[in-house]
């Protein structure tokens, strides 16, 4: 067995361990949402730490896997900048989560909005949107017959109109809520950015279906499912925050953990495909 095989084996074990932990943690939070009485004796601090780790670990894994993909792609490869941006997004979100987690669970500071973590989340969103647009561009111009010239325009226009209408309807109550300006800006920014991400995501869904049955299809189905679940999680977070329904927090933890894990699994699948 070579050093490279050993390293690959260790990477595989770490990746499986993170996905297994995320699966257990998300299931735990789902059970907590459905039957909170089962968790009466469990210290909230323990559950918070489990949730924090459940979000941070897949983000770090996804970032490492995306960086590995970047390293495997030769200089000049047109998809390389897109993978760099994807790695940057996951890294920025991991940093944001780490800042929130350390200030809340280690230093015991009260939650603040906006916080330093929010700066990293917003930078992360910019990179995510740029990555998604870049992936659309390189896929369309890759040389594979992925779409007719009209299809991407039709999907982009329909997705923009539908998401704009849905965004106005869904985000209206969040925008109208009375709270300090900075807090309101952060509360509305995430779901709005999610709706923006969903436009290139819709295009990528169309393009991904053209690779059905191949490993690329698996990679992109995982990554795009992650985008969608995270968008849902952000909208739910904004709603639950507005309504003050703390008992649904475990459900939120589940959606964030599942979203990050799906994306990380997609990046891991791409890395594995290129390594084999």
């Amino acid at each position: 067995m070579t050093t490279r095989d050993t390293k690959r084996g260790a990477e595989w074990i770490a990746s499986r361990a993170v996905v297994a932990y995320a699966a257990v943690a998300s299931l735990l939070f789902l059970v907590q949402t459905a039957a909170p009485s089962l968790f009466v004796g469990v210290p909230p601090r323990l559950m918070n730490a489990a949730g924090f780790l459940g979000m941070l670990a897949p983000l770090v894994l996804g970032c490492v896997e995306a960086v590995n993909v970047v390293r495997r792609l030769e200089r000049g490869n047109r998809a390389r900048p897109a993978w760099m941006l994807l790695a940057g997004w996951l890294g920025a979100f991991a940093t944001g989560e780490a800042i929130l987690g350390v200030s809340k669970y280690v230093l015991g500071l009260p939650a603040q909005t906006p916080s330093a973590g929010d700066a990293f989340f917003l930078i992360g969103y910019a990179m995510l949107i740029a990555a998604a647009v870049w992936f659309v561009r390189v896929t369309l111009t890759s040389g594979f017959p992925v779409a007719t010239p009209r299809e991407p325009w039709v999907v982009a226009i329909v997705a923009t109109v539908v998401l704009a209408l849905a965004g106005c309807a869904v985000l209206g109550p969040i925008a109208r809520a009375s709270r300090p300006a900075a807090e309101a800006a952060v509360a509305i920014a995430y779901p709005v950015l999610d709706f923006v991400v969903l436009v290139p995501t819709a295009l990528l869904v169309l393009l991904t279906t053209r690779f059905r049955g191949g490993r690329l299809w698996v990679v992109w189905t995982l990554i795009l499912s992650g985008f969608v679940v995270l968008s849902v999680a952000d909208v739910l977070f904004a709603y639950f925050d507005l309504a003050g329904v703390a008992w649904l927090d475990p459900l939120l933890s589940t959606t964030f953990i599942v979203g990050y894990t799906l994306t990380a699994s997609g990046a891991a699948a791409q890395n594995r495909m290129m390594a084999e």
């Binding site: 490869n77 890759s142 040389g143 017959p145 049955g213 191949g214 690329l216 495909m273 290129m274």
Partner: protein, 85 residues
């Protein structure tokens, strides 16, 4: 080389990565672009086809992996020729 055998070998090798439908569409599209439809193909034609497919595959799997996959097409054609009566 028999045209259909080239198509079949290329599709079989590309399918695990891009799916069977995309592999078949891509191979047929590039053969048509090269004006190589139906007639038997020479080794040079096969290389032309692989050279057309390479940049597309590179975008998704990188140069090293794309070279491996396309070498698989050559290998499959060699095996086909060896096994053909």
């Amino acid at each position: 080389v028999n045209h259909d055998r080239v198509v079949e070998a290329a599709v079989r090798t590309l399918a695990p990565y891009v799916g069977r439908n995309m592999a078949a569409s891509a191979v047929r599209m590039h053969l048509a672009k090269l004006g190589l439809t139906g007639a038997p193909l020479t080794e040079a034609h096969v290389e032309q086809l692989l050279a057309e497919l390479a940049p597309a595959l590179c975008v998704f799997v990188g140069r090293a992996k794309a070279d491996d996959v396309l070498a698989g097409v050559r290998e499959a054609l060699r095996n086909d020729r060896r096994n053909s009566p």
